[in-house]
Symmetry: D4
Subunit: 148 residues, 8 copies
């Protein structure tokens, strides 16, 4: 029952939202790109651009945690419309908002939510975080050895 | 093991952050207002104002889901500094950001995260959401009957 | 069948939205403050603050013209969240947005929409516009005669 | 008498404004791209960029509903100037503002205004809205069947 | 023929605009608070708030230099609407914009424009600028002697 | 003595500032692109980008009217830095600010300032304004005759 | 020779700038509130509001490090004008900008600059930083023991 | 002991940060692109984009002056996130912030800090500033002689 439901406001949001799917697959977490069906998933990721109502609307209908991905779509005012219409939800209906076009982080957050109760997933996240640190140290070493 | 760790950048953030504690208590979820100790909690809520680094710093050190509450502190530039420095985290280190001063929503989100794996908490959230709807209908009825 | 349906995101929006009701009453246009029932009204006015999804949600469900009133609610980021989440609707689902807290203008716009097909209402609007001009000229005369 | 008057601040706005004409033609509603002559139309659409005074100026002179289209012209400050100078009209002179470059939505809104009193046009809008829903379901089905 | 015409969008703008009148009177320059009549003045000052069309509208009709004063009126979005709708005029129709609520500076600018061709006024401005410098030096001396 | 002094913060601002020179030449007004020498000109135009101090600095040193042109330079934050650091001058030191990159309008404004005391220049501006109107009518006619 | 020169755009900035003086006095660093005389100080702190040119102007004339304090003065547009006109200096002329109204931090930064070459001052800063940490731990302990 | 430590949030920030290294090399000041080791440097330059925590984090751990360079990285909201999360540091933890992508200015500022106690470096900065002025005068002369 650890599937993550992934929905989006428009099929033009797919290139961004695929980053969420990819990172979740790397954690061996099943995803469901579908019209959301809350009883079969543990977490929902919803991406949308412009006046982005989808994440908030899903959050008002489901008891599950909803992660919102603001997308800088065409005709958006630099992404501000999308960020503010997902983030500034009223009391009682939270949306866990990530950075503009931050679908990869939405995937990691979904994994962390599942990992908060599932030791196997948590261990994968611990490994992922360690790999991230190693990557930083390697980049740092490369920087030091580089002739700048 | 369902405690929620609650941390804040400054004790002046307490009036806002208490809304998270209050709503979690209403769900019978234990909270821990402390220097965070990730192995004893399932979720972390971190609130901060201005150039708000606390939520992101915690997120970079813990494998648990971290919820960030931007706080409109004194000297903040209308809250924009706090919102952007919590929301716009780099790839690999998500913070689940809620609305400006949205500590109550942070509490609900933490409960939803716990509820995604704990049926008893999920049932309380379902009840909470139903009460919310009832409140809306009641307000609507009152509005109709009001002599405007 | 010229009723205007008036809905709002929260009963705390009522003080602003009453300005729409008042101006419509001055045009002898019936209003209905209710959970919207599209088949009984000609136009819908929807006001909301923060991540303001109500106007867009109604617009996506009704074939009638929907007028959106962004409201500068408590915890709003200076009204920007409300303005952008009502204005920046996707193609196919327009919301006729008026100024921040501009419920009176929403009422006038609703009357103009009804007036575009109803001569009696149009005549009242023409009178209203003329009174507006007179008011400007009177204020101008007063300014000239004032000892500044 | 159901013509829609379409005016614009500069001929460089035509590529955006043509989207309004196209969608109105698809509803079989006559348009008039002209220096506006209010007595021959039911609704006016006015598009302009920068410090965009045209929609407000027309609204102050006509009793008809005026729809404003903010246009992100060259030298605009990311469209904010155009959005704010159309949206934030004073009390008594509403402009029904749509999204930045949202001329297609302006056309749909004009059709909805006419449709609020003209059953034939209303039926076309109902069909349009249904087609929109079908398109969403089809896109959703395609998404589910796609190998992502 | 050196009168300065002063106009405003609403009588509620008078408290701000009086600062322009006061500074012009201190330069012995006649002012005319009136519906503008361009042939009797040399410069026009126009103040307005919100979607502030008055300065631009006057500029499009008069060959005289027009100074625009953005006013932070009630319901303005922090003054941004007023600033942008006065400043961002299209090519061919400049408005000499001063700071938000900067009516005193508008008066000085009008005096400088008259002074650019009228030696008596120019001399008064030179004296004013010298007094300004003296004031800065005096304030600086006071600061140094203050026990901080 | 009707020369207009034109100065700029950097030679990279020249492509924008040349629009001021061109329009002034079309009015037969001499310009002086130089380190400003106030006693030989009637008006000063100063263009600058980023934290744009040049226009304000010149305004604090000269009794002449100073026109400021905000320039959207490389590394500018979308032009906001330039606009605000030219527009928001303190009391006593006005800068007549025009639109972002609005050097042509700065030229016209300089001509209008000279024209406010020089009938020959005023007549040229009246002709220019009439040509502008003709251009609008012609564009409007073309639009009407166009098959859209 | 370790004096810090402190200058400000207006005596109304003194209440904010006194925080810089106070913190420097606590580090036993002499300050000089004066028209700046670069040869007698090691560092300059300059505070200003609105279109804030003072810090940049000083930076262009002195080879010393200049710290800029943006001040949210009356009529400022929420402090943005001040922040951007101090921060966005052109290449070659840096201003070390601190937070809006951040005069205390400007004082600490000045002390750190002096401390980077003066062991006695550095030791005081190390003590200050340790006291800051202790204060955080104490506040944290108090939070834990509080009955929330 | 006059080395400047240069750190960055990601190796993708290197192209911008190299401007700091280059200018410091032109002042014969050694740099260290490394994981920062405060005891071996006099000043630290830290560059980062998005929710940019690196400069503030370093500032909270080191008694040395920290210069922050906001970087307009990919997915940044026009650089605002980076600027605000570096600039708006809380009391006690200043970061000397320079302009967006202003790494060259960060290098000059670091040199000025070293120069405030090291006469040899100060002399180089005085020469640099003089060369800057000469460059301005040369550009000005070229402008005057140019046929525009």
């Amino acid at each position: 029952m650890s599937k993550v439901g992934i929905i989006m406001g428009s099929s033009s949001d797919l290139p961004i939202m695929q980053q969420a799917i990819a990172i979740l697959q790397s954690f061996d977490i099943e995803t469901e790109v579908d019209i959301v069906s809350a009883h079969r998933t543990s977490v929902i990721i919803a991406g949308a651009g412009g006046a982005a109502h989808l994440p908030g609307m899903v959050a008002s209908m489901s008891p599950l945690p909803v992660i919102g991905v603001p997308i800088k779509s065409r005709n958006s005012i630099d992404g501000w419309d999308s960020v503010l219409s997902i983030l500034q939800m009223p009391s009682g209906v939270p949306v866990a908002t990530v950075a503009l076009d931050g679908a990869e982080n939405a995937g990691i957050l979904a994994a962390q939510i599942i990992g908060s109760a599932d030791k196997k997933v948590l261990d994968k996240i611990i490994l992922y975080k360690e790999a991230l640190k190693t990557k930083v140290y390697t980049a740092s070493e490369e920087l030091k050895n580089k002739k700048i």
